[in-house]
Amino acid sequence: MKYCNVIIDNKEITVPEGTTILEAAKKININIPTLCYHPDLSIKANCRICSVEVKGKNKLVAACSTPIWDGAKIVTNSKLVRDMQKGVLELILANHPQDCLRCIRNGKCELQKLCEIFHISKSNLEDEVDALEVDSSSPSIVRDHRKCIKCNRCLEVCQESILSHAHRSIHYSITPAFERKLMDTLCVFCGQCSSVCPVGAIYEKDDTQKVWDAIHNKDKHVIVQIAPAVRVSIGDEFGMDAGKKVTGKLVAALRRIGFDKVFDTDFAADLTIMEESSELLYRIENGKTLPMITSCSPGWINFIEGNFEHLLKYLSTCKSPQQMFGAISKTYYPKIMNIDPSSIFTVSIMPCTAKKYEATRKEMNSSGFRDIDVVLTTREIARMIKSSCIDFEGIQEEEFDTPLGISTGAGVIFGATGGVMEAALRSVYEIATGMALNNLEFIGVRGLEGIKEASININGNTIKVAVAHGLDNAKKILEMIDKGKCDYTFIEIMCCPGGCIGGGGQPIGTTLEIKDKRIQSIYKVDEEMPIRKSHKNPAVLKLYEDFLGKPLGNLSHKLLHTNYNPKNKDYDFSQIYELN
C-alpha cells in the first residue's frame, strides 16, 4: 500500500493513500466538525461544515470527501476556517426552527451540539423557516421537514427508496415521491431513517403519554413486555457501555414507573418457536408450501405485502412474539389472575417503529380485545425512565414477574439476525427426532453477513436453511423463490440490518460497531441461561397444558396465527389499520 506524508495543523502524520482529511486528522486527535457525515454511510459532503484549508488552494475543501495526497498541508484551525465553518452553521440555523427546548431531539441533536461547540449567538441573518406541514400520517414515524437540514442520511438508509429528492434551491426537500404522506407510500415503517437523522426531522411517533395515562388510571391493570433486543441497547441512553446487558435494571425501572407487572417478550418468543416449529414440521410432513419464511419482523411483513404479494403463501402464519404475547395477555393471563380482560392494558417495549404499525393492524384482535394497546420504542421508554428521575445505572436489579416473564436462551437470541432460526432449529430437531441436540450453537447463522446458510440433518433428511437481514437481502431471497431456484426449507428474514438490535427504534447513535457489541451481548445472555430451548420453557408448557391445548390446535390458531393481505400500490393504506 502507498503511504502519504501530510501535515495537519503543523503536525506530521503518515497515512495510507485514500485516507480522507477527516480520518487522518482524527488519528492525531484533531476533530473536524461534521454534520452530514455518518460513520456507516457513504460520504455526501453536502453540509460543508467540515470545510478546511489546503495550502496552495484558493478554496476550502470538504474534509470528509477529500482524500489526502503526499505533501498536503492542511489547516483546520485558522481564522478563515473557523469563520467559514461558523458561517455554514449560521446559514443552516437561519433556516431551522429554534424551538430546541420543545424538540424531541433536545440534548441529542447533532446541530445543537455544533452550536454549542461554535458558541453560536445572535447572527445578522434573517431567520426563515419554510411553513411545511408535519407528516404524522403513520402510526410509526413522524416527518417534520421544517427541521430537515438536507443531510441525505435518511434517503440512503431508506430500504424501500421511499424518500427521494424533490425541487431545487430553497425548495429542495427530501420527501416521498409526489410529496405523498408516508401512509400513502409503501413505507415499511422500519424507522431506520429516524435513527440516523441528525436533528428532529424524522422521529418515532411518541406514545408515552398514552402509557402515562393508563398507568395513572386506577381501573387499568397495566402490564409491559420487553423485547429481547432492548435489554442490550437501552444502557446507551444512560451513558453506559455499548451492548451492556441491563435486563434487571430495566425491570426495576419499569416497576418504579408504575407498571403493574413486568413481563418478557422472550416468553412469547419461546411460544412462537413452539408454533412455528410445529408449523414447519407440519408443512414438511404434509408436503405443504415450502420454504417457510418467518413472520416476526413487521417491517419485513410490510415489505412482502407491498411488493411480493404473490409470495405471501410462503410466510409462516404465526403472529410475531409481540402479538402472541398480546393475545395471551388478554386471555390466559386474566384467567389465571382472575382479572377482567377489558381492564388489562398491554404495553410493549420494542426496538422497532414498525411494531407500532403492527399493533394497529385491524386483524390483531382475535381475543376480542386489541392484542397490544401501545408500543413504545427503546428511545421512548428511556424518556419515561428519565422523566421519572430514576438513577438507571444505580438502580438495584430485579426479576421479571411470572409466569409471562419466564423464558429461555432461545427466546433472547431473537434479538439478533439469525436468532429466530437458531432457536427454531434447536426445537425442530428435538421435537422431530426425539433426540437431544448436542451442539446448541449454530454459528453459521450468526453474524452480520447479509445472507447466511446452514443445514441440519433431521431423521436422515438434510434441511437447508437461510437467514437474511436488510430488505436488499430479503429481495434477493424472494427473487430466488420467484425463479424457482430456492432449495431452502426454512428462511428467517429480518427487515433491519443486523436484526432487532439494529432496529429503527433503538437509541440514537447506533453504529455497526455498536450493533456488533449488542449481538455479542445477546449471545452471552443466551449462554448464561439455565434453559436454552423454547420447548423446555416450563411456563410455555404449562400454558399449553392449562389453556391452549397443543401447538397448531384450535385455540392456538385463533389466538396466535394470522393472515396477510396484499397492499395494492394505489391502495389507501389508512383503510387497513385502525388508529388507537
Partner: protein, 421 residues
C-alpha cells in the same frame, strides 16, 4: 493585430449548415481525414501542441485532458459534447450549433478516435429544441456518408453520436451534473473523486468538452497546430468566440484572437455604447463572472491578464452596462438568477443565496443597514470558499467584484437612519 478572425467561424452564414456537400466544399472533414492516419498519441500530441484550453469556462488544457482520458483503460468509453450553454448572455455555442454543426461532430469524432471511445452524446440544452433537431438531422447525414457509424472513412474506427436534451437547469452545464442528468437523475453535482474521466456516464470513462472546444479540433488538424497557435498570446493560444450583449450597438457572436483589449472589443467590434451613453462596467463570462469597471477596459482579453486582475474568462460572454444601470439593481437580477438555479444540495449555495436575496431586496428598497453590507461580504465568502460545485462558488463573483469596484453604490442604498448609527 486583426480584431476579428475566421477560423472556427469561417462557415458562419456562408454555407448551408445542413448541407454536407457545402461543408465538404468549404474544407470540412479535412481535419478528420488528416487525423485518422495518425496514431492516438500523435493526435493528442498535436492537440497539446496547439496549446488550447477548454472553452467551457474552466480552461483546462485540452491536450492534457485527452491524454488522461486515453490512458484510462476500458473497453467502453464515452465522449460527451457539453452544449448546455446556460450562462446568461452567452450564445456563442448556439452559433456553432446553428451555422456549423458538422464541425462539432467532426471534432468529437477526432476526440473519440484519440481517446478510444465509440459512443458519443451531445447534451443540448432544452431551449435549443430547433438545434437539437438540426443536430439529429446532420448526424443521420454523416452516418449515411460514412463520417459516423461503423468504418468511418473506410477505417475500422467506429463512432456513434446521440443527441440528448437537458431539462433546463443551469447547473447541468457542470460536467458531473450533466452526467447525472443524462442518467435520469435530478441535476446535482457529483462528489469527486471518482473523477468523470474514470467513472462518468453509466460509470464508464468519460470525456466531456465544450462545443467550442470540439469545433476548434478540426481547425487544428486542417491548418496544423503550429499555425493555430500563432494566434493569441503566449499563454492563451488561438482564438475565442465571444458573445457581446447589453447596451451595445452591435451585439452578437464574434471570433477574436486572444490578446485584444476589452476596449477594442466594446468599441471596435461592438461599435460602442448605444444611445451615446457612457460605458459603466462589463460583466465578463456570464452571470457567474466578474464586474469590470470602465476604468479597467485596457485589460487584454487573455488568461494571463485576466488572472492578474482576478477575472475569470468563463463562457465568453461580455455583458455591457451603460451609465444608467444601477449596480445594486443589476446585482439583484444576477442574485435572482442564482436563487432560482441553485440545486439545493449544499448548504452554502442553498442557504447563502436565500440570505443574499433577502438582503438584496433591502438594498433595492433602500432600507439596508451597514450590518447587511458586512453580512453580504461574509456570507459571499462562505459561498465562494465552501460551496460544493462551481455554481455556488462563483455565484458571488459578480457581487464581490462589484463591492470592490463600486462600494459607493452600496452605501447610497443604506437608509439614512442606519447610516447615522
Amino acid at each position: 493585430m486583426k480584431k476579428t478572425v475566421s477560423l472556427i467561424s469561417k462557415n458562419f452564414k456562408k454555407i448551408h449548415p445542413e448541407s454536407l456537400k457545402e461543408y465538404l466544399k468549404a474544407g470540412g472533414y479535412d481535419g478528420l481525414k488528416n487525423a485518422l492516419p495518425l496514431t492516438s498519441l500523435e493526435v493528442i500530441t498535436a492537440v497539446k501542441k496547439s496549446g488550447i484550453k477548454g472553452r467551457g469556462g474552466a480552461a483546462y488544457p485540452t491536450g492534457l485532458k485527452w491524454e488522461q482520458a486515453a490512458a484510462i483503460p476500458g473497453p467502453r468509453k464515452i465522449v460527451i459534447c457539453n452544449a448546455d450553454e446556460g450562462e446568461p448572455g452567452t450564445f456563442k455555442d448556439r452559433y456553432l450549433l446553428e451555422y456549423d454543426p458538422f464541425k462539432i461532430i467532426e471534432g468529437m469524432t477526432i476526440a473519440a478516435y484519440a481517446v478510444g471511445a465509440n459512443e458519443g452524446y451531445i447534451y443540448i440544452r432544452e431551449e435549443y429544441k430547433k438545434l437539437q433537431n438540426r443536430m439529429r438531422k446532420i448526424i443521420d447525414i454523416a452516418i449515411q456518408n460514412g463520417f459516423l457509424g461503423n468504418n468511418i472513412l473506410g477505417t475500422n474506427f467506429k463512432f456513434n453520436i446521440k443527441v440528448f436534451s437537458g431539462a433546463g437547469a443551469y447547473v447541468c452545464g457542470e460536467n458531473s451534473t450533466l452526467i447525472e442528468s443524462m442518467e435520469g437523475k435530478s441535476g446535482r453535482p457529483r462528489i469527486k473523486p471518482p473523477y468523470i474521466k474514470e467513472r462518468g456516464l453509466f460509470n464508464l470513462p468519460t470525456l466531456v468538452n465544450n462545443v467550442e472546444t470540439f469545433s476548434i479540433i478540426p481547425v487544428i488538424f486542417t491548418i496544423g497546430p503550429e499555425e493555430y497557435a500563432k494566434y493569441g498570446t503566449p499563454n492563451s493560444r488561438g482564438t475565442k468566440l465571444i458573445s457581446i450583449a447589453g447596451n451595445i450597438k452591435k451585439p452578437g457572436t464574434y471570433e477574436i484572437p486572444f490578446g485584444i483589449t476589452l476596449n477594442e472589443i466594446v468599441f471596435d467590434i461592438g461599435g460602442g455604447i448605444r444611445n451615446n451613453k457612457k460605458l459603466k462596467f462589463l460583466q465578463i463570462g456570464g452571470a457567474s463572472g466578474s464586474i469590470v469597471p470602465a476604468s479597467m477596459t485596457h485589460i487584454r482579453y487573455c488568461y494571463e491578464d485576466f488572472k492578474e486582475h482576478n477575472i475569470t474568462m468563463g463562457s465568453g460572454a461580455i455583458l455591457v452596462a451603460d451609465e444608467t444601470i444601477k449596480v445594486v439593481d443589476f446585482l439583484k437580477s444576477v442574485q435572482d438568477f442564482f436563487l432560482h438555479e441553485s440545486c439545493g444540495k449544499c448548504t452554502p449555495c442553498r442557504e447563502g443565496n436565500r440570505q443574499l436575496s433577502k438582503i438584496f431586496n433591502r438594498f433595492v428598497k433602500g432600507n439596508a443597514s451597514i450590518e447587511d453590507f458586512k453580512t453580504i461580504e461574509r456570507f459571499g465568502k462562505v459561498m465562494k470558499y465552501c460551496s460544493f460545485c462551481g455554481l455556488g462558488q462563483s455565484a458571488t463573483t459578480a457581487l464581490l467584484s462589484a463591492i470592490k469596484h463600486f462600494p459607493d453604490e452600496f452605501y447610497t442604498h443604506i437608509d439614512k437612519v442606519h447610516k447615522t448609527i
